[in-house]
């Protein structure tokens, strides 16, 4: 939430004497209103002054040039050759004299087609004004000034080019600073200076400093709400026009919806649409708004000043001079100011007359009531609209406006009246109008309760306050104990300091002993609880005063949960066996399913989908780490990195149903991908290409780390993305915990990689099974006896099955069985293989005899024979 202000504009409302923009920017930032940047409105041109074109005659030697006599007041008139088509005698214009410095050039004496030119009449572009925000007639040719521009006055002063523009980066709770008034109060609070806002009845409408004025009114400080103003009346009741003294035009209103808790309008007649005063245009330009016309500019100017959006209607299109504020009817249509026909819904607020809709309350006016050059009388509206409804309407119709932005953050009820009065006063000054009705102030029926609290509306407070603001009216008074403030912040404050902060904030405060009662004005809806006020004290007395202390309480070190410890252990282990950790996105495109060859009914093809993805590439919640690791492999392989050994520990998502209606199951998995050589390249022999058993070996290694290797069983897997003959499911105690295997060639080719190996393990399953306790086995006292047996077995016999068979038959003295050779080939049949096992027998209480061992071996041979495995001769 950004807002721009200017230094001179701010100085109208709060005394900035003795301060510099740099100092104020730093102090605002330190108080929680960060000034993002600060720069002059435009290049501070030198030796460019207001001049008047005395004559503009054709150039003797050039059709398109004019020779102008220009006076700048005191000095003798100068001759300037000008190429602009719009130059004419009698105009006041910006004149760059000899030696003038403009953003892009310095002016010297020159001769144009034989006529000496002693300067230049400048265009808006040449002055460095933001031309894209100006009207066409202001940017075509020279920049014509108002007829009352004082001759000889420096243009930089006249247009305020050197005024400092600051952009404030507001936090969402400080929407009060979306106005000059809010920022003025903030600056006032920092430096203890009083804020003075213009008041309707004094007619203070001029900038107080820094900018040349076209009339002589002095700034007058006044309190915000003078007696007789609509804001004041609004506190007590309501009234229609017709009764007051200035009832030239009849005007009435009713509010039929609680979504508009306060509505006020006033008619002004005799207006003439034209440009706003130049100083107002320049201020709007400086803060990034486009000057349009006196009426529009005035409503914008007052909005920026008070934070209260205003709207102007054409009085004559209001049937029966009666305005109705209501909710839209079903399928009601309205052509808005931008020319679009909008379909409204009953949740939206409509400003209407008895016959038709005239605008969308708080969002945008209707085309039919637009103020045009034919408009004679206008109605100015100043109101409160429900923040949430305004926000929803803006979103539904995709209408973002400065007014909508302010309404949806919540506006100040106390600004409704003064802003209306201020606008009406400015219109009288700058649009030639006269007041044609008193202010009409209306509230919805039953909107006020006995204690004066508003009901029905979600309330401005709820937009920046907390959940319960709907139920409890924002307290106008916050009570706090001074010692609690010190205790909560851990910093000692004297009660006088706290009282002083309230005074600086211009919050009325009462003190009883150590207790403070602080009245919070409506302009600060963010302050609803004691802690909010504590923050005001803390920040205005500087956070730097808060010391750094140590927490009380036990300081025993924290501990990792077993699964957290497991993840750390696996990470360290995998890094030391040569795998690099990667970190990938959880959001994947839908095409990964087909890319990895998964059939539509595969579990991994069931992926949860986002309602509002940023792109197709980030639409689905990954069901597996496979997709991301293949992307990593592809990326690196395209960069000619041959050895890719990566892993990631991350989350995969399994929806309980599709489309998702509840949280998916989230599992932490460990995935790894390998491609390239089994060993790093070295000059000591040719490295071997990775194969299935390298991948399986890494898995077994980490299972061993967790004490799970002996309990793990590998069975042939059938995954659509893995090699049918070189992939395995991994089971522990019969429960599947993962998979390991070579990528299917078609998938590898799809990703442009060679042979690759993938494994994925479910960490929760591993953590649940991991060995925690350990009892050390006694070391053998008697020597063991080893026997090597070479079996010839059917090729289809799994080695694990033979080993299991041998173990079962071997008896308790069979300590270990290892496979030390596997052979297929000419020496055994084509459907057979040779498996060489080393058996180690050992007894705890004696040395085994040869005869005993031979007995065991015979039992083993007999048992193995049942699997078709015979001893090889």
């Amino acid at each position: 939430m950004d807002v721009k202000i200017t230094w001179n504009w701010l100085a109208d409302y709060v005394d900035l004497d003795g301060l510099t923009p740099q100092q104020v920017a730093m102090d605002l930032t330190h108080a929680g209103i960060p000034v993002e940047w600060m720069e002059p409105f435009a290049y501070p041109v030198e030796r460019v002054v207001v001049g008047e074109v005395l004559s503009a005659d054709p150039h003797p030697n050039a059709n398109r040039l004019r020779v102008c006599r220009v006076t700048v007041g005191t000095e003798a008139p100068v001759t300037i050759v000008c190429g602009a088509a719009n130059v004419a005698a009698g105009q006041r214009v910006p004149v760059a004299l000899e030696g003038a410095r403009l953003p892009d050039l310095t002016i010297g004496r020159s001769t144009l087609r034989g006529v000496e030119s002693q300067g230049m009449i400048c265009s808006a572009q040449e002055l460095g004004l933001p031309v894209r925000s100006l009207a066409k007639e202001q940017t075509d040719g020279i920049f014509v000034l108002p007829g009352d521009a004082p001759l000889g006055l420096s243009i930089a002063d006249y247009l305020g080019l050197g005024d400092m523009v600051m952009e404030l980066e507001l936090t969402p709770n400080r929407s009060d600073c979306l106005s000059l008034r809010g920022v003025a109060y903030e600056v006032g609070a920092i430096y203890g200076r009083t804020v003075r806002m213009p008041s309707a009845d004094t007619g203070w409408v001029q900038p107080a400093s820094g900018m040349a004025r076209s009339d002589g009114n002095d700034a007058v400080a006044a309190k915000e709400t003078a007696p007789g103003e609509p804001g004041e009346h609004g506190e007590h009741g309501e009234h229609d026009a017709g009764a007051g003294p200035a009832s030239e035009l009849p005007l009435t209103a009713t509010v039929d919806t609680p979504l508009c808790p306060l509505y006020s309008v006033q008619a002004v007649t005799g207006v003439a649409l034209g440009p706003a005063p130049i100083w107002m245009q320049m201020r709007l330009l400086a803060v990034g708004m486009r000057p349009i016309s006196n009426l529009v500019d005035i409503t914008n100017y007052v909005m920026l000043e008070w934070g209260q959006p205003l709207h102007a209607f054409d009085y004559d299109v209001i049937a029966h001079h009666h305005i109705v504020v209501r909710q839209a009817e079903v399928a009601e249509g309205l052509e808005t100011l931008d020319g679009q026909v909008r379909q409204l819904s009953p949740s939206m607020i409509v400003i209407a007359d008895p016959e038709k809709a005239l605008g969308l309350g708080g969002v945008m006016g209707g085309r039919n009531s637009e103020v045009t050059h034919t408009t004679r009388s206008v109605v100015i509206e100043s109101a409160l609209f429900d923040p949430i409804v305004t926000r929803r309407t803006g979103k539904a119709l995709q209408l973002r406006s400065e007014a909508g932005l302010r309404f949806e953050k919540g506006t100040d009820p106390d600004a409704v009246g003064p802003a209306l009065a201020r606008a009406v006063a400015l219109i009288q000054l700058y649009a030639g109008g006269r007041v044609a009705s008193p202010a009409v102030v209306k509230r919805p029926p039953l909107a006020t309760t006995s204690d004066g609290a508003l009901s029905g509306m979600s309330s401005a407070a709820s937009a920046t306050g907390s959940l319960d603001a709907d139920l409890h009216q924002r307290p106008a008074v916050i009570c706090l104990d001074a010692p609690r403030v010190s205790a909560f912040l851990g910093c000692d404050y004297a009660i006088d300091e706290l009282v002083d902060v309230c005074r600086r904030l211009q919050f009325p405060v009462q003190r009883e002993g150590q207790r403070l009662s602080v009245e919070i004005p409506a302009r600060r809806p963010d302050i609803t609880r004691e802690e909010d006020m504590i923050e005001e004290f803390a920040r205005l007395l500087s956070y730097d005063r808060i010391p750094a202390t140590e927490m009380h309480g036990p300081l025993t070190p924290g501990r990792l949960t077993p699964e957290q410890a497991l993840r750390r252990r696996l990470r360290t282990h995998l890094v030391s066996v040569g795998l690099t950790e990667v970190w990938t996105y959880s959001l994947v495109p839908g095409f990964v399913v087909t890319r990895t060859g998964l059939p539509a009914d595969h579990a991994l093809a069931q992926m949860g989908e986002l309602q509002n993805p940023l792109s197709e590439d980030r639409r689905f919640l990954r069901s597996s780490m496979l997709f991301a690791l293949l992307d990593v492999a592809q990326y690196n392989s395209h960069r000619r990195i041959r050895d890719i050994r990566v892993f990631e520990i991350g989350t995969v998502f399994s929806p309980r149903a599709l489309p998702m209606t509840e949280q998916p199951t989230e599992r932490q998995v460990l995935a790894l991908f390998l491609a390239g050589q089994a060993m790093a390249e070295s000059p000591h022999g040719k490295p071997r290409a990775l194969d299935f058993f390298d991948a399986k070996g890494i898995v077994e290694h980490l299972l061993a780390l967790l004490g799970l290797r002996a309990r793990a069983v590998f069975l042939p897997a059938d995954e659509p993305y893995l090699h049918a003959g070189q992939s395995a499911r991994i089971l522990i105690d019969g429960r599947e915990v993962g998979v390991v295997g070579q990528l299917r060639q078609s998938v590898a080719r799809e990703y442009g990689i060679g042979a690759g190996f993938y494994a994925e393990l479910c960490l929760a399953s591993l953590a649940a099974s991991a060995e925690v306790g350990l009892t050390v086995a006694e070391l053998p006292k008697f020597p063991g006896v080893a026997r090597d047996l070479a079996f010839v077995a059917p090729r289809s016999l799994a080695a694990a099955d033979l080993v299991a068979n041998v173990r079962a038959a071997g008896g308790t003295e069979l300590q270990a069985v290892t496979i030390f050779d596997v052979y297929t080939g000419d020496h055994v049949g084509s459907d057979a293989k040779s498996l060489a096992l080393r058996l180690t027998f050992q007894a705890q209480d004696r040395t085994l005899t040869d005869d005993e061992v031979s007995d065991y071996v015979n039992r083993i041979l007999a048992s193995a024979a049942r699997l078709g495995a015979a001893i090889r001769h």
């Binding site: 202390t549 509002n612 960069r639």
Partner: protein, 349 residues
Amino acid sequence: MIEQLQALRTRALARLEALETSGDPGALEAWRVEFLGKKGELSSALRLMGSLSAEERPVVGQVVNEVREELESAFAQHKAQAEAQALRAREAGDAVDVTLPGRTPFLGAEHPLQKVIRRIEDIFLGLGFAIEEGPEVELDYYNFELMNFPKDHPARDMQDTFFVTEDLVLRTHTSPVQARTMEKMQPQVPVRIIAPGKTYRRDDDDATHSHAFAQVEGLVIDRGVRMSDLKGTLLTFARQLYGADQEVRLRPSFFPFTEPSAELDVRCIYCGGAGCATCKQTGWIEILGCGMVHPRVLELGGYDPHEVSGFAFGMGVERVAMLLYGVTDIRQFYLNDLRLLEQFSGLAH
């Protein structure tokens, strides 16, 4: 006789000395036979003993023994030297070029973001914090409502959200873990946790934004927790992470779930506070958001804000990593270019 023996000794040792350079094992053996062998000179000398008088015999016998011991010891020493020399000579023939690289096993690397998370975790583990985790697909209730972001609240605009359903979002911060922890722990105190994890916001990826990023959340609830404790804890953290002479400052800010709220700045780690491009000449760098737990959040979490208070903080892991490692584009962390990641293989960092 004694003179003869002394002469023999001198001669034998001189001969042995002369052999030293030859390195011929045969010559050494020949020396042994000549002087110490059964038919060698010393034995011959012994045989002459018989001709000596009884008085002379023990005197000469002692000299003979002394000479023998000396010669035998010299022989043994010489032989050992010769053998060692021969071994060295053989090894020289088997010499390798030790400057050639060894057969090094692959060495992997921890991902920089993970490394940063581990460092942060270790600091807070040492301060007595536990590590909590929560789901990435989170209920609106935990992600927003319990964190004091009511529906339609403008503060929700701060966090552009990925929706799965109306009530299910990709968590926009790790703060819902605060809510889940309170739900689990209330009304017990102290609560002292951090919660690292992945988070998501609907931002287009560029050099400083990422739709997916990591945060570490922190939450402390206890009786009498003060804002000064927040500052002290984060000062300790900053000093452990960035160096013992680090300074911190708090600046007012806003988060719906803390009040008062603050940003924590550390002295710019590039310029030490003098002002540079990274710190925009301020001498300070913002590293995290923090504040006292909002009383409404305590209430929603089942705690009585009159009984207990707390503080919370949250930091972006990528930001910490970018500052620590001089990475200027956040996307580098998600590219997984092995040439970058392998730079993190050492124990340092």
